[in-house]
Amino acid sequence: MNVVWTREQLDEGVKRLASQLVTTLVGVPRWALVGIRDGGVPLADELADEVERLGARRPDRGDVDITLYRDDLYTGLEKPVLGDTDLPFPVTGCGIVLVDDVLFTGRTVRAAMGEVWDFGRPDFIKLVVLVDRGHRELPVAADLVALSLHTRKSDRVTVDWDRREVRVEPGAG
C-alpha cells in the first residue's frame, strides 16, 4: 500500500479546487454541487463549505446514486444497494457541477449525466474530481482536477476521508 497524498496535501487540493471553481463560475447566476454517491459526497460537502468561505454565495447541494444507470448490473454479483438520489432544486436552468473522488473509466460520469438529465435540462454540466487516475474508456474529461496519477489499470485508488489520505494499492492484475 502506498500513501500518495497525506492530510496537508488533501486539504490544500480541496482548497485549490474550490478557488478554481469560484473563478471558473464567476457570473453564473445559479449553480449546484452534485456529489456522485458514495465517493463524491464528502468532497461536494467540503467544496460547498470552501466556496462559502471564499466569500461566494453557497451553491445548492445535491447527490446522485447512479446504480440504476449503471451498465454493469448483470454481473451475477451481489446487487448494489440502492442509495438516495436527491436533487432538491430545479435542475432546469441550473449549472451542474458533478463531483467525484476518483475519475477512472468515465462510465460513472456518463451514468451520472444521464441521471441528472432525467430531472431537468441543466444549463451546463462540469466535472470536478479530486484524483484523475487515467484509463478512460469514454470521451470524458474533468474540468478541474486536484491530482493526476499514473496507475496500472489493476491498481486500486482510494480516497480515505476519515484519515484524509489518498492511497494506491496494487491489484491482482
Binding site: L68, Y69, Y74, K79
Partner: protein, 310 residues
C-alpha cells in the same frame, strides 16, 4: 440476493424481505421525477402471463417494468389458448421461444409458478397462484406498514375476511411472521377454519375482537361469486358481522392503518367513509405496488453480462 424466482414469501429469509422493501422505497423516488424512467433493465423482456383477469396487478407489473426500461409483452390467456386446450407447459414453451428474461404469472392453480420455475431458465414471479400466494402484494403491504412504523417487529396486524381462500392473506401471514409481527385473523367460519392453526396466526371469532388490538387492519375483498352459496349467505349479513364501518373503526387504536388489496366493495367489507377516511392507506398501497415490483425486477433480473467500474 442470489434468487431466480419469486414464488412466495413462505420460507423467504428476513434479510431478503428487508432488502426488497428498502430497495422498493428507493424505487419510489423514480416515480417522483420529471422522467419517470431509468435505463436499468434496457433490452430485457418481461412477459406477463395472466390466466385470470387482473388489470391492476398486470398493469402495475408492466408499469414497473417500463420504469426500468424493460420491454413488456402481455399474454391474456384466459380467453385464448387454454380454451383451445393448450396446457400450461405448452403455453410456457411457446413463450420461452421468445426468449423472455422474466415471466410474471397469475394462475388459478397453486404451484403453477413453481412448475414453470423449475422447468425453464427465465425468472418467474408469482402474481397469484390459486389460493396459495401473492407475494408482491404482501411486500407492498409491508412496505406501506414500514413507511409508517419503521420496523414491523412486535406490531399486530389483523386480517379480516376470507382468510382461507386468500392468497393475499397467506403471503402476508408468512411475510409478517418472518418480520416479527403478530397476525390475528377473523372471518366467517367457512372462511377462517380451524385448519388455519397450521399457519403462524391467532384466530379470533369476530371482527370486534381484533379491531381493538391491531396496529393495522387489512380487510380482504369478498368475492361476489361466493355470496349466496353455502359459503356466505348475503352481503348485508357479511357487512353486519365482518365489515369495517365507522362505528367499529372508532373502537380501534387512533393511529391504526386501514388497508385493502383492492378492488374494494364499498359497503360490504369496508364502509365508504372508512375507505376514504384519514386512516386509510389504500391508495398508498397502489403507489407502493409499482415500487415493490420495480424492486423485484431489479433483484431478480440480470444474472449475466459485462463487468466494469469507475
Amino acid at each position: 440476493m442470489e434468487r431466480k424466482d419469486l414464488l412466495g414469501l413462505r420460507g423467504m429469509p428476513r434479510a431478503e424481505i428487508e432488502a426488497l422493501i428498502s430497495t422498493a422505497a428507493r424505487m419510489r423516488q423514480v416515480g417522483e421525477r420529471r422522467i419517470k424512467k431509468v435505463p436499468t433493465l434496457r433490452g430485457r423482456l418481461v412477459v406477463s402471463l395472466f390466466f385470470e383477469n387482473s388489470t391492476r396487478t398486470r398493469t402495475s407489473f408492466e408499469l414497473a417494468a417500463k420504469r426500468l426500461s424493460a420491454d413488456t409483452l402481455s399474454f391474456n390467456v384466459s380467453t385464448s389458448s387454454t380454451a383451445k386446450g393448450e396446457t400450461l407447459m405448452d403455453t410456457a414453451r411457446n413463450i420461452h421461444a421468445m426468449q423472455p428474461d422474466c415471466i410474471v404469472i397469475r394462475h388459478a392453480s397453486a404451484g403453477a409458478p413453481a412448475l414453470l420455475a423449475r422447468s425453464f431458465p427465465f425468472s418467474v414471479i408469482n402474481a397469484g397462484d390459486g389460493i396459495n400466494e401473492h407475494p408482491s402484494q404482501a411486500l407492498l403491504d409491508m412496505l406501506t406498514m414500514s413507511d409508517h412504523w419503521g420496523a414491523l417487529d412486535g406490531r399486530t396486524v389483523a386480517i379480516v375476511g376470507d382468510v382461507q381462500h386468500s392468497r393475499v392473506a397467506r403471503s402476508n401471514i408468512f411475510g409478517l411472521a418472518t418480520m416479527g409481527a403478530r397476525v390475528v385473523v377473523a372471518g366467517p367460519g367457512t372462511m377462517c377454519r380451524r385448519e388455519l392453526a397450521a399457519l403462524p396466526v391467532t384466530r379470533r371469532h369476530t371482527i370486534d375482537e381484533v379491531v381493538g388490538e391491531a396496529d393495522a387492519i387489512m380487510m380482504l375483498r369478498i368475492q361476489r361469486e361466493r355470496l349466496g352459496k353455502a359459503m356466505l349467505p348475503s352481503a348485508r349479513e357479511y357487512a353486519a358481522f365482518y365489515g369495517l364501518d365507522l362505528d367499529r373503526l372508532q373502537r380501534a387504536r387512533p393511529e391504526v392503518l386501514v388497508m385493502h388489496p383492492g378492488p374494494i366493495n364499498r359497503g360490504v367489507e369496508i364502509g365508504a367513509e372508512v375507505a376514504d377516511g384519514g386512516r386509510s392507506v389504500i391508495l398508498d398501497q397502489v403507489t407502493n405496488g409499482i415500487a415493490v415490483r420495480m424492486a423485484l425486477l431489479y433483484h431478480l433480473l440480470g444474472r449475466e453480462g459485462p463487468v466494469d467500474e469507475g
